[in-house]
């Protein structure tokens, strides 16, 4: 029980230190007492260390399967494999909150240790905000949501993890998202620090560039991992269901995207100061909201873990966050005025404004769709649901608008572009898009709005390639370097620009995947006896064997098929549908054969004792494109984050 005592008490100590750290940092900074500031900074480091100790205790209890601890009893069993025992750390509400705290405080400690001359004044407030947010989570962990709560006796066996969660996705998806959520605290902390000190110029914005890219990257990758997990495990043939929990992770990502773009405006032009403060706060608040949605059960969803009063605490916290920021913004309204004015509609500035408005708009639309059923229910008492049809009706035009923005925005220059220039820049992408669209239409591809969507994607794709090409040729002409050298130097000279373009490329490939998979999915239900074969969508499925067998955890039902297309064998696929004893529920294990053109996706709907199997055979075109596009987004972001050494920077300037 040592681990229980230590784990629990470290949280209480951390709470006391967090409250002290917040007060000490603010007092020290305002009264200019360096000793107090330093002490507050040490407090932030101390709570990170305490969070590590407490987390280690919980992990130890999980690994030793100490079932007297309620949390361990709820999420671990004796036959659960070790990787899933580790992932049980964040399978429930208490552990998830502890993980949030851990990631937040570690990021905060790194932030306050990275002291530079430009952020010395800001850091005490950054530390204070980190300590304050940590105090909120510590309050929950020590009172309502204690991961170390004991049962009166040791039951000897635990309930175990929900089998739906027994997928490699469970190991990667939640922590990735949580890193994104927690790290978005740092940009918010900097925004508050900038307001508190009145130094709302470009300093804080540059300071958080890496933090916000890092958080954005993890959030995005986490969302995609979740989509991939849903696709392979849940067995409804989709990767996105507009489920409130999925939505709530998408919203901060969308607003975070707006933030990444509006930051450029402040750096280059001294504009958008209020936008940046607002977006940093909004992104953080939405991350907290996402945690709250997942953990409160206020909004009905397959992910929510049952109702608890936790929701009201989260709501109160959000209100405090927004109120404090709003008050500080009003206090600093003079300093927040823009240095520059918008010069022209045909400018990078204006297109960035459109981008920011577009992303925030899409984010708010998702938020509205997510909240609407709850709001409507509390107002009218009637239960409503907002289904995929709402989202597809709203997001088809919005998505198209976003792709148009991505297409045109990078073609415009800072200051002012002339219409002729812009039209000339759009020539090749336009020609390619029209040619591609006509070719698709002639090839009999319908409906026309999908053709239009693909054509738009081709437009962006070409325009990004043209951007690379023009820069490349311009550099070659300027320097006389050989083609490979010129290209490498070009992309290496401006990581942000070309990393950003790579991200755009990834996003349109992803968008093409979304269009393809949502318009052209097919679903055929067939019944087969052992030995029989059937043709579905050009595939030949031959029933090879079946298995019905009980195991320790489940009753297993499995059907194995030999799959071929034409004369080419595609190997064997096994689809399963298992009844799990511990949750008394059916869980499907989908058989998937991924391909660049389409995925073959087989779900076992039913299997009788004599081997008669009912199968749902689906084809999902272009789903692989989502993962390829996601990969490019990842690479592009890493490229944009990659630091250039000071020496190289100096050399670049001397050229």
């Amino acid at each position: 029980m040592t681990a229980v005592t230590v784990g629990q008490w470290t949280l209480w100590i951390a709470l006391a230190i967090a409250l002290y750290g917040m007060i000490a940092s603010i007092l020290g900074a305002r009264q200019r007492v360096p000793e107090l500031v330093e002490s507050g900074r040490n407090a932030v480091i101390a709570i990170a260390a305490l969070a590590v100790i407490s987390s280690a205790c919980l992990l130890y209890l999980l690994l030793t399967r100490n079932f007297q601890v309620d949390y361990v009893y709820q999420h671990v069993s004796t036959y659960l494999a070790v990787p899933y025992v580790i992932s049980a750390f964040y399978a429930g509400q208490e552990g998830s909150l502890l993980l949030w705290l851990l990631l937040l405080t570690v990021a905060g400690a790194i932030a306050v240790v990275r002291r530079r001359d430009w952020n010395e004044d800001l850091l005490p407030y950054v530390g204070a905000v980190v300590a304050g947010v940590a105090a909120f989570f510590l309050l929950l962990l020590t009172t309502l949501s204690n991961p170390f709560k004991l049962l009166p006796t040791n039951p000897g066996q635990g309930i175990g993890l929900n089998p739906l969660l027994e997928n490699p996705g469970m190991i990667y998806h939640p922590p990735t998202l949580f890193i994104g959520y927690a790290v978005y605290t740092i940009p918010f902390a900097y925004a508050i620090a900038a307001l508190a000190t009145g130094r709302v110029g470009s300093g804080w914005v540059r300071g958080i560039r890496l933090w916000s890219l890092f958080a954005w990257l993890f959030l995005g990758v986490g969302i995609l991992l979740g989509a991939q997990w849903a696709y392979v495990e849940l067995g409804w043939g989709g990767y996105w269901a507009w489920d409130p929990v999925e939505n709530s992770s998408l919203i901060p990502w969308l607003v975070g995207t707006a933030f990444l773009h509006s930051v450029m405006m402040q750096e280059r032009r001294g504009m958008f100061k209020r936008w940046n403060i607002a977006l940093a706060t909004l992104t953080f608040a939405l991350c907290v909201f996402a945690t709250f949605v997942t953990r409160s059960g206020l909004i009905e969803s397959v992910h929510a873990f049952g109702r608890s009063p936790l929701g009201y605490y989260f709501l109160a916290f959000l209100v405090v966050v927004v109120a404090v920021t709003a008050a500080l913004v009003i206090w600093r309204r003079e300093e927040l005025k823009s240095k520059h004015e918008m010069e022209s509609f045909l400018s990078r500035e204006f297109s960035l404004l459109v981008t920011v408005l577009g992303m925030v708009g899409v984010g708010l639309a998702v938020l509205l769709g997510t909240l609407y059923p709850t709001l409507a229910e509390s107002l009218s008492g009637q239960q409503l649901s907002v289904g995929p049809s709402f989202y597809s009706r709203v997001f088809t035009p919005l998505g198209a608008a976003v792709i148009v923005i991505i297409a045109i925005c990078p073609l415009l220059a800072w200051g002012k572009s002339s219409p002729q220039r812009v039209l000339r820049a759009m020539l090749w992408p336009g020609v390619m898009a029209v040619a591609f669209g006509i070719a698709l239409a002639l090839a009999g591809i319908r409906p026309l709005y999908a053709v239009l969507g693909f054509a738009l994607c081709v437009f962006v794709f070409t325009s990004v390639l043209v951007e690379f090409g023009r820069g490349w040729l311009a550099r070659k002409r300027m320097t006389g370097e050989s083609y490979p050298v010129a290209f490498l130097r070009l992309v290496n000279k401006n990581h942000r620009r070309y990393g950003g373009y790579l991200v755009h490329l990834g996003v349109v490939i992803l968008a093409a995947g979304v269009i393809g998979s949502s318009v052209y999915t097919t679903d055929t239900t067939i019944s087969l006896r052992p030995g029989e074969a059937m043709q579905v969508q050009g595939y030949t499925l031959k029933y090879a064997e079946y298995a019905i067998q009980p195991t320790e955890a489940k009753q297993r039902f499995a059907v194995t098929l030999d799959v071929s297309k034409g004369n080419r064998s595609l190997g064997r696929m096994t689809a399963e549908k298992n009844f799990h004893w511990n949750i008394e529920q059916w869980v499907t294990e989908v058989a998937i054969r991924p391909g660049l053109v389409e995925d073959l996706y087989v779900i076992l709907s039913g299997l009788e004792q004599n081997g008669l199997a009912t199968l749902s055979v689906q084809t999902h075109p272009m789903v692989t494109w989502l993962w390829i596009g996601g990969g490019l987004v990842l690479l592009g972001t890493l490229w944009a984050m990659w630091p250039r050494s000071e020496k190289k920077r100096a050399a670049g300037r001397a050229e």
Partner: protein, 149 residues
């Protein structure tokens, strides 16, 4: 018991760590400077404009005007930075107000740049302790008298 002992230990360590600066144990670490934070922005701006122009996204006149603006801004930043650095830097190392020549031990007055007796430099830190000849960083022997440095 073990648990309680550990908790007490952790509490003491944490409190000590947090209270350390208040008890006079603060290390005033020099903050590593990030010299060209602002200039970098301004010059990056100029660079961006140039690339836009060279890839045909900017009119000549517009390019000239923007470059003018950006370079002036960059130069201003640089100048401001230099001023700040000058102000921040401590007074350049002067010989101490009076003292003894490092070579021959003869006393000298404040402001003297060479020893009045043996001619050794009193300004340069890198002086051979034997003969007073200045040497370069990395030298291992004096070029004049051959003594190890």
């Amino acid at each position: 018991m073990m648990g309680i002992a550990l908790v007490v230990l952790i509490t003491l360590a944490a409190v000590a760590f947090v209270a350390y600066p208040l008890l006079g144990g603060m290390r005033r670490k020099r903050v590593p400077p990030m010299p060209d934070l602002e200039t970098q922005t301004a010059y990056a701006d100029a660079e961006e404009i140039e690339l836009d122009f060279r890839t045909g996204k900017l009119e000549e006149a517009e390019y000239q005007a923007l470059t003018q603006k950006a370079t002036v801004a960059a130069d201003d930043e640089l100048e401001r930075r230099i001023q700040a650095l000058r102000k921040a830097r401590k007074q350049p190392a002067k010989p101490a107000a009076g003292g003894k020549c490092p070579r021959c031990g003869a006393p000298y007055d404040a402001g003297d740049r060479f020893c009045a007796k043996c001619g050794a430099s009193l300004v340069s830190a890198r002086v051979c302790p034997n003969c007073g000849t200045p040497y370069d960083a990395g030298d291992r022997f004096c070029v004049k008298c051959g003594k190890p440095l």
